[in-house]
Amino acid sequence: MSAMREHLAQLYAELGQALLKPPEEQDAAIEYYRLFFNPLGSPCPLWQSVYEKEEGKPPQLFGDAHHRALAWYRRYGFEPSAKNEPADHLGLLLLFYAKLLADGEPAEVLEQFENDHLRWADAFVAKLKAEARHPYSQQLAQRLDENL
């Protein structure tokens, strides 16, 4: 089972990193920024808060999901290195999930984190699948779809 854990930790770390780091090839990088950081509107926002409407509040950055994610990270002694960015970036969440896997956290903990922070990713992946126009993003969408 530890081999499976290692495999999954590696998988989710890779997926997380793929969302955090733009590809080096220019056309793929343009696609990455078009999808996620487009100054003309990002079709696939990467942050959980944007997908979760809190009562009485519109979707926004740094919402409740950001605070809950930070609490998770801090419980394990960590916080994101980027101080002024939301902690509920899907890439960070997947990296942290990989860390939980790698550290041998029990299934209940993994499931709790999944419930808290990964279920919304279905909506993200659906957007990504619909918006992807480049082999890079189409493959990324497919890998996420298969593994989330």
């Binding site: 499976m4 343009i30 487009n38 290195s81 002024n84």
Partner: protein, 746 residues
């Protein structure tokens, strides 16, 4: 098919630690937690939605603003925020915010081109911008630079001055520029403050002051009414202010000037002006014969033919205004000052009414703010001499010498200058926090932007201008910066509130002041050094400003106080206009004007366009209470309340054209056409089509506002500077709703 996480979780128990192959990436993006989590604190700051910058308190959890509310003791908000201010956390954490510097990779520009954005570092962005600016100056001279920005903050203005920028353009010709021009010569400076609460008679020309959520003004009107003041509202349409006023008097659009001129005629001919003030503090005596002769023609009967208001009512209101004081006739932004071609004349007439009422800088009148003197960067660190601004201004402002003196505008003539007067002159443009929706006829402005070789856009939300940018810079928002903000709308004694960064600048956003220093280091380093040779540091500069203004030992000390005020009795001014020849008096007749291409006394000038056989209706625009011009439509809560605009028409007009509620209509003018749903309302006269400003953002980037509604400006004909000179519009009123239109059902 790959084994999924869910499949695996079903089969696994407590884990055994896996090999740490994945941890390299984790360590790159995470670090050991440094701070204990989730302390909830409160901090003071100032709103930035509109210019009064009401004080606010932010509730902050772990560096994130969760809630904001009014600041007790603040002279502007009086402990409250308007809906726009209260919703500004939506602004701060809008998912659409610009986050990093970005560069276009596709050289083709246009609304249908994918710019191919990629992220670049601030260093790369600033290097590129500096290179392009220098290249432009070397090849084409300083007149090839265009800066579309307010002249603030002071560090940014220093940069533009140091670079000898000729064409710095801002929106104030669509706002209160005419009043800046007029008051400089009639009262001695812009009288921001309206002492409504001590006024007994409040005369409003068009301004829907109750609905426009400047708390200090709306509150003043309410207090005045409670204390028995009479409020009279001239307005073509019935507004919240009309309902609140004692009298609503409908007028034909653009005819307020005729009423104001006739009121002056009544007050002067009946000698019912405030004799004590007029004799002692104005130039009436010196120019009495010219003044009496000039206004004699403007009888209430004459004004009735133009405005539709009965002569008896004009005469009665003039008498009440002059004798039931203290009386006040405020002139503020947009409404009055910039609506029509006769805006400058109207503002002059209104200034004279206030002078005749004798309430300039008197209780119940328009007064000059008493503020702490907060020095700018040029006072703290005196700069080397700035280079002369040599070259042509693309907006043609030099043809309006009085506007040149106040150094505002001109948005309204920029497109004409870029496309027709000086085509191809502008090679480099820097847009700071403005969208093309702000221009009369934004379509023409789009065309003008396409003629520029290199464009930088700095903003905090992705407005339509981003489409044309080569480099996009993400701006910090007003809740992310520190400053000292003087109260200058309610300022009988000085009060200053600390604007504190209640949230750290998100992502890689930066302030325009920081950009000024960084570009300054690259292009004009001598202007950005302190006397000891080090670079100017914005934090040290703010400490010094605070200290010199007497607000605290440094900014931290001032921030701890939050509000600093210096209570002192209100001593009315006895000396007013300072320009040569005024001898310290308020000027009804302005003898300096003719040499500057202006009339010494206000005269009747018609609005630019009147209904005709092709376009039989008046076109009016308005700024709805729930939005700030064209900047808040993407704020989620405000968007939910008012997401779009309509053609608001009277049921009688609807019946005549067979239009029903909600039906799409085509509204045309000589400048263009718009399609939008109709809304039927008795509040609008039967010969007016009314459309709210601020909608029709084309930018797909605005996830809430993008694509909703239409641009009111698409019906406004683009003016040229020659039109202004010809029409005697020497204060440069931008004619933001000077149009006529037709309507038909779709």
């Amino acid at each position: 098919m790959a084994l999924t996480r869910r499949d695996w979780l079903k089969t696994t128990g407590a884990g055994v630690a896996a090999a740490p192959a994945a941890l390299g990436a984790f360590e790159q993006y995470f670090q050991p937690a440094a701070a204990p989590s989730a302390a909830v604190t409160k901090a003071i700051s100032c709103c930035g939605i509109c210019s009064p910058a009401c004080g606010l308190q932010a509730t902050i959890q772990d560096g994130v603003v969760r809630f904001i509310e009014g600041l007790p003791g603040d002279a502007h908000g009086l402990g409250h925020l308007c809906g726009k201010g209260a919703a500004s956390v939506n602004y701060l954490y809008d998912p659409d915010r610009l986050k990093y510097p970005m560069k276009r990779t596709n050289p083709r520009k246009g609304f249908n081109e994918d710019p191919g954005w990629v992220r670049i570092s601030w260093t790369e962005a600033l290097d590129e911008i500096a290179f392009r600016m220098k290249q432009t100056i070397d090849n084409y001279g300083r007149e090839a630079l265009l800066f579309v920005t307010l002249p603030s903050p002071d560090l940014w203005l220093r940069f533009m001055n140091a670079m000898g920028v000729v064409s710095r353009i801002d929106h104030r010709d669509e706002c209160f520029q005419t009043d800046m021009v007029i008051q400089r010569y009639t009262t001695g400076g812009k009288t921001w403050c309206n002492d409504f609460e001590n006024s007994k008679y409040i005369l409003l020309f068009g301004w829907d002051i109750v609905a426009k959520a400047k708390i200090i003004y709306a509150n003043g009107i309410v207090e005045a009414r409670k204390k028995g003041a009479k409020i009279v509202h001239f307005s073509p349409n019935y507004t919240a202010t009309s309902r609140f006023a004692n009298e609503w008097i409908p007028v034909k659009p653009g005819s307020d000037l005729a009423i104001a001129l006739a009121m002056i005629q009544v007050i002067i001919s009946e000698n019912i002006y405030n004799k004590e003030f007029v004799d002692n503090y104005t130039n009436f005596g010196r120019y009495e014969s010219e003044i009496r002769a000039h206004f004699a023609q403007y009888t209430p009967e004459w004004a009735e033919t133009i405005s539709g208001v009965k002569a008896a009512d004009i005469r009665r209101i003039a008498r009440e205004f002059a004798t039931n004081g203290p009386a006040i006739a405020p002139a503020h932004k947009k409404t009055l000052c910039a609506n029509y071609m006769n805006g400058t004349q109207l503002v002059h007439a209104i200034s004279i009414l206030n002078i005749l009422a004798g309430t300039i800088d008197r209780p119940g009148g328009r007064y000059f703010p008493r503020t702490h003197s907060i020095p700018g960067v040029d006072a703290v660190y005196p700069p080397p001499a700035y280079p002369a601004k040599s070259g042509r201004r693309v907006d043609g402002r030099d043809k309006l010498p009085l506007v040149n003196e106040v150094d505002a505008g001109l948005f309204s003539t920029l497109a004409d200058g870029m496309l027709n007067k000086y085509p191809g002159m502008i090679k480099f443009a820097f847009w700071n926090a403005y969208t093309i929706l702000a221009f009369p006829n934004p379509k023409t402005m789009e065309e003008a932007m396409k003629t520029v070789d290199f464009t930088v856009v700095m903003d905090f939300i992705p407005t339509d201008t981003v489409n044309m940018a080569d480099i996009v810079l993400p701006s910090a928002m007003y809740l992310e910066v520190n400053d000292a903000v003087a109260r200058d709308y309610n300022a009988k004694y000085p009060q200053t509130v600390a604007r504190t960064a209640v949230s750290a600048p998100a992502f890689e956003t930066r302030s325009i002041g920081w950009v000024a220093i960084e570009l300054g280091k690259r292009l004009c380093p001598d202007y950005f050094k302190t006397p000891d040779g080090s670079w100017i540091n914005p934090a040290t500069l703010l400490d010094e400003k605070v200290k010199r203004a007497g607000l605290g030992e440094n900014f931290a000390d001032f921030r701890a106080k939050g509000i600093v005020e210096t209570k002192q009795p209100f001593t009315p001014r006895t000396s007013f206009v300072t320009v040569s020849g005024a001898e310290g008096k308020c000027q009804i007749y302005v003898p300096q004007f003719p040499a500057r291409g202006a009339d010494p006394l206000p005269k009747w000038v018609p609005k630019r366009e009147e209904p005709n056989e092709h376009y039989p209706y008046y076109y009016m625009t308005f700024i709805p209470a729930i939005h700030k011009r064209n900047t808040t439509q993407n704020m989620a809560i405000l968007n939910e309340i008012m997401p779009t605009n309509h053609a608001i028409i009277n049921p009688a007009m609807a019946k005549k054209h067979g239009i029903s509620e909600g039906q799409n209509v085509l509204v045309r003018s000589r400048a263009g056409q718009i399609e939008l749903p109709a809304h039927l309302s008795e509040t609008v006269p039967p010969d007016v089509v009314m459309v709210a400003h601020g909608f029709g953002h084309a930018s797909r980037a605005l996830s809430k506002a993008g694509g909703k509604g239409v641009r009111d400006g698409d019906l406004i004909a683009n003016p040229s500077i020659d039109d202004f000179v010809k029409a005697g519009n020497f204060g440069g009123s931008s004619c933001i709703m000077d149009a006529v239109c037709s309507i038909e059902p779709l």
